[in-house]
Amino acid sequence: MRNILYFITGCILLLQAVACESFLAVDPPVQDIMAVEVFSSKRTAESAIIGMYSRMTTSNNHALNGFMSLYMGLAADEFANTAVNATFDVYKNNAILGSTASVLGSAWAPLYNYMYHANAIIDGLQKSTGIALADRQALLGEAYFVRGLVNFYLANLFGPVPLVLDTDYEKNRVLAKSSLDDLYDQVESDLLQAETLLSTDYPDNTRIRPNVYAAKALLARVYLYRENYPAAVLRASEIIENSELYTLAYEFDEVFLSDSKEAIWQLFPVNVSYNSAEGLAFIPSSATARPPHALYGGLLQDFDEGDKRVANWTQQRTLAGITYTYPFKYKIRANTTKTEYNTVFRLAEQYLIRAEARLNMEQVDLAVSDINMLRRRANVLEYPEDMDAQQVMKAIIKERRTEFFAEWGHRWLDLKRWGIIDEEMLRTKPDWKGDNLLLPIPEAELLRNPSLTPN
């Protein structure tokens, strides 16, 4: 009898001992792949790179997919929402608070998600051994480019912010702000890295992944913002002179198409129902509905008589005796077939970057000829080459406003860097107080990160 007992006790213990460790070892879940495996082959590493762009367009009105165009357009003097809307009113009235949900949810958090993503790729690729060097370099170039892009928009929206350069959460969880100069230095160095690593070809026949010119395009803008004019001119010229790849689209409705020759870099809209976030935001939902956003009169006055951009890039609708003019650059409100892509950089900007840089290098005539490139396309009177410098600057301000309205928040960024925001805003918004140039650091972030200080 006792032997049976020992036998059973022994069995229980043996079962436990033998089975324990192996029983508890589980494989990673089927839907996941371990980080080390991501960077073990070119194919998966490429998917990781694609992941950055895919995330950028997953949600409408997030940081790099409509937030700049829509929210910063409302914050600036471009357009106003036509119906009460708690989300839009906050931006329109420049009454954004640290607790405003969209600041954290649509700008701050997505941008830092892309940052982690880029940092994880940089880290993974640097350690990777399974991918050929040339492939690894090209992929690294894209990650550096994205990190530069993200830091650029963070700096322009929030001012000084924490500079996150790795995936170490132990360090980053209590990271303090870096100075604006440090942020910009990092943007510049990341883009310079990208410039050396990226090739001149697009990875496929679309433009939905960046090539070297995408890096140059942003670099040109960064140099302009930092007043390094020769460097800006250099980059812009390299793009403009590559006419095989890039030409201005002479039909205005071709500018934002998926096969646009003017586009330097576009994002593919991954959301199944939509094309661009801008199309969804600006185009009215039905033939009778009031347009959700109407351009301010001040902006419309800046267009010269007969400017083709008015006819092609805006539309009007009159309801109950009130005429609303709304942006119509992207023509598709929503469609499962994708014909318009979110155009991040386009050639027109390079002309205006070069014009502004040349002006500051006292090459006024060359500056005027660059502006005239866009005026010729818009079918408005070209400027004489002997305009005085002050006039040229005014022409650039006006041209940037009319070319880039409702697009990527150009106006907001420009007004701030030119230092003319107060006088310009007061023309449209009499209640402008001038104390809302930076988005507030989200309250939830201040709550969690003791090193972070409010704006």
Binding site: I12, E21, V26, N81, K92, R448, N449
Partner: protein, 1024 residues
Amino acid sequence: MKNFYKGGRGLCYLKRLSHLFKSKNNRSCTLFGFVLSLICVLFSDAQAQSGRTLGGVVRSTADGQPIANASVSSDKQQARTDTEGKFAILVNKPNGTIIIKHIGFTEQSVAYDEKTTSINIQLAPVDNILDEAVVIGYGTTTRRLNTGSVGKISGADITNQPVSNPLSALSGRIPGVVVSQTSGVPGSRVNIEIQGRNNLNPNQSADPLFIIDGVPFAANNDATNMLGNTLLSPFALINPADIESIEVLKDADATAIYGSRGAYGVVLITTKKGSSGKTVVKAGLHRGINRVTRLVDLLNTEQYLEMRREAFANDGVTPTVSNAPDLVLWDQHAQTDWQKELIGSSASSTDAQLSLSGGSKYTQFMVNGAYQQDNMVFRYSKPYTRTSARLNLNHRSENERLQIGMTAGYGTNSTKNTVSDLTNLTIVLPPNYPKTRDQEDDLIWEYDGVPLYYGNPYAYTKEKFESRSNALMTNMNLSYRLWKSLVAKVSAGYNTTTTFTEYMAPKLAKDPQYDVDGSMTTGDNTYHNWIVEPQLEYNDVLFGGKFQVLLGTTFQQTVNDRVRISATGFTADELMGSLGAATTYNLSSNTSDYRYSAIFGRINYNIMDRYILNLSGRRDGSSRFSAGRKFGNFGAVGAVWIFSEEGSIKDILPFLSFGKLRTSYGITGSDNIGDYQYMETWTHANTPYLNVKALYPSGLANANFRWEANRKLSLSVDLGFLKDRLLFNTTYFDNRSSNQLISTPLPRITGFTTIIENFPATVQNTGWELVVQSTNLKGGDLNWSTNINMTIPRNKLLDFPDLDRSNFANTYIVGRSLNLIRGYVAEGVNPESGLFTYTDLNDDGVLNIQDRIYLGNLDPKFYGGLQNSFTYKGFGIDIFMEYRRQMGRNYMNSLYSDVRVPGFIGNVPTYVMERWQQPGDQTDIQKFSANFGTPATAAGLQFANGHNTSVFSDASFIRLKTLAVNYTLPEKWVSKWGIDRLQVFGRAQNLFTWTSYKGSDPEVQNLRVLPPLRTYVFGIEINL
């Protein structure tokens, strides 16, 4: 000496085994080596000595089952019955009496004479609540002998409450347990917190472990519906009438046998079993009505328009079509009471039960089925239904060595209400909101080309939302008595829970302003769980004490599969429901695998039912930890001294019928952190980027986290007076959770929102639990008993190294509760400016995090319940009141949100009419404003998220939770109709609430959520 030798040999034998064991798994062995050695030592026969021996068997009169460990005495001789109820006692005199005693039974004396050789004795159970069975981990005990802290609610107390989720029946009944309903929607989730909050992250689940008939419930208390705003509970699949009792295990002694999963307490649900005897058919039916209660009063059209006009005047802004359609465009005289319109229905309910039970001495069965239907208070919505069936079989062999019990239960329910709680809409829709349906009942979305601000409130009537769940729960217990006092057992179980949620929003139900196409989304969430637990149980008498050893091992696996499909682009709205008719899909699937294995053991030693020592321990391994960190050891010790059994105490305190001191101390843990958290993972995006599938980071890895340790200390005193008619229990607990394993909220700059890690902080929960049970009147026609419980809890963050530099720096304060309120000090409304003012504590001119200080905490000061039960002849009345004293978030918290303040478009409670209007006004509500960017809006938004004193006020309440009245017809009447028993009853739930709380319900504390419903039911129950 002989015995020692035998034991020694056994020890050697086992040592050899354990060597084998050690080589495989070194650490697992050490804890149980001790247990094993003890078992070993005890395999020694208690041999009879010389003299005349009397033998016999002791059985219970109730069920004829043998009574083990009963004490048998004659003169100075003592013996105990074995597991078959057999005893052998040495007697010196030719004739005399033997006395048989056992806890829970009436003492009996039996005379013997020379001729007597064997005596069969039947003991009658005593009617004393101290001796009622209490289910504990892997066994049962009684309240008298329990070494742990266990709260219990009986099946009768559950069925007296017409609730759809059996867990909500616990509310207020058990000290130390806070039960809060998340919503009044039938089948919705109930939060349970046992002995306070010890988790630093308020969003992380701190649910206790739920075990149904020995098998962990796969879905635990997680909401299983993947779609919809209301969290639906898998417990709603269990028919409350199937439950025999629910035990809540609280202290270390009771929970350490569940080791790593016991930190937040354990809830044991035991279902009803068949009993031998006549076959009984029991049928019950009740019908009733549910209604909303405690809604706030909202502005009528006149008041609303007054508010809006005043707000625009205050702002100096002219109302226009775009900023104030409600003032300029809409009908100024229309009036709709949206609360009445959308959630004001009286919803009928039906519940039918049928059961059949009976059996022979060796085999018993129980079969039952039930159906419940609850209509919703939401207008135009479809009913909630639950159907369940259960079969229980128990058998024991004629030689009583083999016992087998099996239960299989199946439940299915369906919720067809709305994807989101309509209550939220009712409190914001302006009373003059335009008509939103035309003659054909089609939805209107615009008024004069202007989109309606709150969309169309009837959109849900065109949508289809359904959540269908089903659960299959099976378990089997097999035990075989190998040898005299040794029983081998296997308990095994399998359960599966599936929730399929489907949401169809056709194009015509969508605001054309935002959406382009009809869509259908489905979520399929399945849990599979199996467990096998082989066990050995040994009972013997050792040195005059009852000795019980349990040794067991656990293997458990839970697999969770989730599939979510969204489809759009249906050719026609009519085809929606057929996924194949869609043109685009978005599919995501997730699988997780959780495995768990353990060895556990318990040693209980009981001397004369006076001194009891209980040791329990468990070594756990969990797949949720990285290699090398998978195992953890847990254990507890409990001790009891029943001092009323001491002769001297009996002499000194003759009025004391029962006195017990109990203490326990031990360590438990938690692996409630989700699967795979130690792996750094990437996952794929659901839609391709043109034609490439994207990958993105899905898990921030921390391979270093390890088991946390919760140290629990519990002390209690039980006193009984007047032959236990008056019972007091006082328990003090001190639980400390350190090296907490939590999901820490991270700032978003890290790229993630949380990380699982061990936190060096120590959280302390202490408290007093008091229970008084009194049988006021007994024996006559009128019986009356009273049951009072009260808990006085205290929560405190004891220690937090480097709090200042952590992510919790602005959240917690050492020495304060985790449920603290940290916010601005409100100074009320400035009589000059009419604006809320807050104290700028550091005088830096801005209000920010530095100005938020400790303002109090949201812990209940005390809480509990009071139950009175009366019976008079066939009548019975049961009244239960729940009370809680606490601070809470008042209506102001819902009034000032991130997106609006009073004066903006949208209705508000009438409280706001007390607002500031002109300089000199003294009031609590600031002036109205209708626009962002005004000083009044900015000041109002400081209210958002409950960051200041004004948002908090008293939320104490006393609730007449349950009133149950029943009448059993006299047997002589009903027997003529061939009926054994006939009872008619009426029950009411949430009948009245006394509170000074400003808002809707002091328990839910949220105007946007459907408060608990008031329910009345009437019914009949028949036994054949």
